[in-house]
Symmetry: D2
Subunit: 358 residues, 4 copies
């Protein structure tokens, strides 16, 4: 249950304040060039501690490849990567050792497993997403071989919506904002909440270009369904839309259908997916993140014995998780597409004939 | 890829206009009473042809259990169920034999598989959901043993939103409306579109009560993530929200966090899920459906040779798919919860000791 | 747990004396010609009631395809096949209703599931293998496209061993004997046991020719390991050998290694598999079957309440199951190879480039 | 494909001469005490370099737990373990860089993946089994909670067979011999082969005691079938028997059936498994290993360009792999049983009621 994907399959491990986090990626086709610097650069994008909009926790997030690569290429064997935890500061958490923080998984993990790993959320911490980003970087290298590119950015902060999408700009923005014209406002919302010891939510748009027709396996491994699963599995995600999403439900069929001409689809309300299968247009999804549950105000809660308590968190937390969520969303879409690309390879007899009857 | 679930796992088969559709359900615990009448009654709820708000296509949808049940009880072996197709009318589709219908999966199936099964959408038809409902009925019988109940209804039609949720009323409503006070308006929207040879979208709310704490497997088989996958896999679904969904992203942390007292959670913005695991509150999800792509107006499209054509569909189609989608959403949530209940059984050593060390 | 395979994946259902048995085959590449007569002919080979060496139970075993085939070709959607049970004779079993038959699964199914489906072994009956043979026939059609052929025959009966392997002869032999020179002796052993109300065991050799180099996924989906699983899952199987099997353990390395020349391997002790991956030689495996547990002599046993009883079976049973096991073993090897062929398609980047970058 | 198990599921990674090997174990029930010393002691049993009967390669095999354990107990999150490679000596292999060693996986890996990782067999090396033993140790700790114990030993060397089974003795024997009365002879066979620059094969018997009735999932995850897969996946394994194995095929039904009395089964020809499900008796399996393919004699082979060459290996290799195979076989059986124990927990409704309705 710590694995994802069928053919391009990865497993992650590690807790927020344990020795290390890491991943094992299985199914990477042999011969793929593995660019370690690129993997590290992706991790650097996700890494916190870089601006006032994110947690001050400093993680060097130096990734080390333990296996699966020989002379710069994937060998077809599992690629294991590990990131040793440096900045663990377990003492930060001693004051909430027996208390369930509202909005956190403390409560549910405790009742599910009967164990309270109080060190910073343990496995449920967003720290785990570093392992996803490392894996996603491998997926991106793979997709690049087929001209597929995945990009993301923040499309909404505290209800302040982007009016245009500039993915290039988002890469440079401190909050991965897609629209420079509303970025200041969005930043103010974040800082305002931070100053009030509060937090804000937001939304991320992720898209893939160059996706060939045919990715996605009906009926229960549809591209949109698996994207929804992948994106909803990111910490703090509460909603996922494909294409025009909720909006589609308010249009007429005659408005929402994407007509087709010899040049291709006239519009892309579908977000590049029809019947769970990619149609060659841009694949587009949005993820909505709740505000960071870690806030520095008094909140009512209970301890592990059921006694009512007042919690007041200390420590370092993102006032706005969606920014880093944007990097993770990119990774997750890349991973889904990589898996779907492999799965689709055997959909038709003629594909197999190209490989085996040559 | 035509299977779903890990321990409570089902596989469906069959095309819209083939001989039969059906399913095989594996992992049903032995000893569960299998109430065939209940299964049939669930299918009857989904069945079209009952009102002017749905397609006139008549399917008797009589389900037959082929295996896995002995003397009224599940034996632990796979339960196969089959529904033979009666009302096939393949001729309805001859005029669109080589044409891709906008908004449909014709295009993507053709390019993925190299085959054009033009008979009513083939496998991509919503007809497949009858098999889901049959399976979901078994899941419901199972959940009932543990006091878990899943209900759904239509919460929005063409932008007209329910203001209250009356699940009991929804069961009687022709369009499964949750709010009688807006039902008329919603019905008018549907009929208006129908008369204009058009269609409307809508949204469904599905909830489960009685869910114990602990269901959901982190990190990649989270309850919310798998619900998102399950619901997004329903035909025409374009967005899924958990709890307050998109709205959460517009709140402050101090507004969105659900505080906890000795009596339980004070609010349920989370939709009953924290860190991917159920917290004992109602599990709540919403699915947004696009308007039916089958409309009876002229649309631009292409044929399988890439020639531009004008399509004008004939036949019988739902002007509003979300109503039946509501029954399917219930089935899907029931299936996810049944699977999670089985998976969670082995989360703690003490659970296993209850079974084996007695 | 009633499914097998990863990409070429099938699920079977049905009990010995239920309404029907059947299977759903997922992952068959679209475009494959599905020859229904061939599938039926494979079932006819397995079918009992044809000679005095097999049970007199008459099963017409008429297979019906319910889905997944359109105009004679696989569409890429699941192929469901069903065989309705005709000759059920449930009354045959009433005398052993509460009794565990020695050597049978009655005992273990009862304690595992808490249910006694006494009708001829229920799910544990060899009747289930008809569904495997139907599925295996589809796998054979698929393999044929790549020049791969799977054949099997009886290599040993009651310790009487074949000295040569004539697969063509085996197809005509009433007991699927591979060596006509010992067939008479083998038949006598069977009839001798039958007359003594007893039964005999035997072994089957199954081989595949034309297998390309590269099939098999290390480390835990090795071709030999999965073949072992597949063959050991056949009713009454007690041992599986690959290549020279047990014999290899008694040779020196210098005797057992297969040297290589420019023309290929000098010998095939390995049975066509090195490191879990096919090496281009014939893939060879042997399965050993215990004697049919159903014998018509008095045996000591207990009933479901733990009381000691004396059992004396009545009814119709094979005195020698390995003959039909030979047809099933062929099916299982074909299924494993089909799955491995699909899985291997994505092992190298260059394979994928052949498909996607054309 | 580098993973095994469904609920107790592990993934291994790493190559013979890479940075590290390791594993991630998922599904370990929370609350299980994790005894690190025991895990290390199991690795020490497998570790080579300890006697003249095994390779002189020295591996310290120091295991490090990276995650999943908190205050000495499993937390329910994945347990990652890593063993850094110390004694890599890549230069040993330079002389065979482009050559396929007979009996090795060099040939098949090269053609499957298009890459020649010549460093000591890379992923196909038996070095990977250290990761299995570490994982198996966790499985043993788990099984111990339920009174299940798995033991193994060498039952045959170069055709010299044990006449009795003394598992306690085997733990102390340098070659894990089960029968002290033939051990000397067996050792001589090994040393004789070693002196002749050759190698010998052998067989291992592995058994489990205390296994409850009911483990094993029909039809395609049978206990015996999965054991066969698990054991056949060990390097150099060529045959697997369950219970009396091949011998069963030479007996009459009346000889082979295990009769039942109120005290239990009268005999155990079945090896503790009926219909793929454990029957409460000892679970018994045998694995046959081919002689080590690495011999120090001249052999014919080809290089990666297809040119004929004469190979003469240098380096350090076991003349007899079955001894260490015995420790690995134990691990594999423990892993299979742990998985089956978890899977079986949900077989009956009443089991679930014990957990949820308490």
């Amino acid at each position: 249950m710590n694995s994802f994907g069928i053919k391009f399959r990865f497993t992650t491990f590690g807790e927020s304040h344990g020795k290390a986090i890491g991943c094992v990626v299985d199914g990477v086709p042999a011969g793929l060039k593995i660019d370690e610097e690129f993997i590290q650069s992706e991790l650097d994008r996700r890494r916190p501690g870089k601006s006032k909009f994110a947690t001050a926790r400093k993680e060097s997030d130096k990734v080390e490849i333990l296996s699966g690569v020989f002379e710069g290429k994937a060998t077809g064997t599992p690629i294991a990567m590990v990131i040793f935890n440096k900045d663990q500061k377990s003492r930060d958490y001693s004051n909430i050792k027996d208390i369930f923080r509202p909005g956190h998984a403390d409560f549910t993990y405790y009742y599910k497993y009967g164990i309270r790993d109080y060190r910073g959320g343990g496995r449920s911490s967003a720290r785990e997403t570093a392992a996803r980003v490392a894996t996603g970087a491998v997926a991106k290298l793979f997709l690049k071989e087929f001209g597929i590119e995945v990009e993301a950015g923040v499309v909404e902060v505290a209800g302040i919506k982007a009016k245009k999408l500039d993915f290039k700009y988002a890469r440079e923005s401190e909050i991965f904002a897609l629209d420079p014209s509303v970025e200041e406002q969005q930043k103010e919302a974040i800082l305002g909440a931070k100053e009030a010891h509060d937090s804000v939510g937001g939304a991320v748009l992720v898209r893939a270009r160059g996706v060939p027709v045919g990715l996605g396996e009906p009926i229960y491994y549809k591209l949109d369904a698996v994207l929804a699963e992948a994106l909803m599995s990111i910490n703090a995600a509460k909603a996922v839309e494909i294409g025009n999403g909720c909006e589609a439900s308010r249009l007429l069929g005659s408005q929402n259908n994407d007509e087709i001409t010899a040049e291709g689809f006239v519009s892309n309300n579908a977000g590049g997916i029809l019947g769970g299968i990619s149609n060659g247009e841009e694949v587009i999804a949005k993820v909505y993140f709740k505000p960071t549950p870690s806030i520095f105000q008094k909140q009512r809660s209970i301890d592990i014995d059921g006694n009512e308590v007042e919690v007041e968190l200390k420590g370092r937390h993102d006032p706005f998780v969606a920014a880093r969520g944007s990097v993770v969303a990119e990774a997750m879409m890349a991973l889904v597409l990589a898996d779907m690309l492999l799965l689709n390879a055997t959909s038709k007899l003629e594909n197999l004939q190209k490989i085996y009857n040559a």
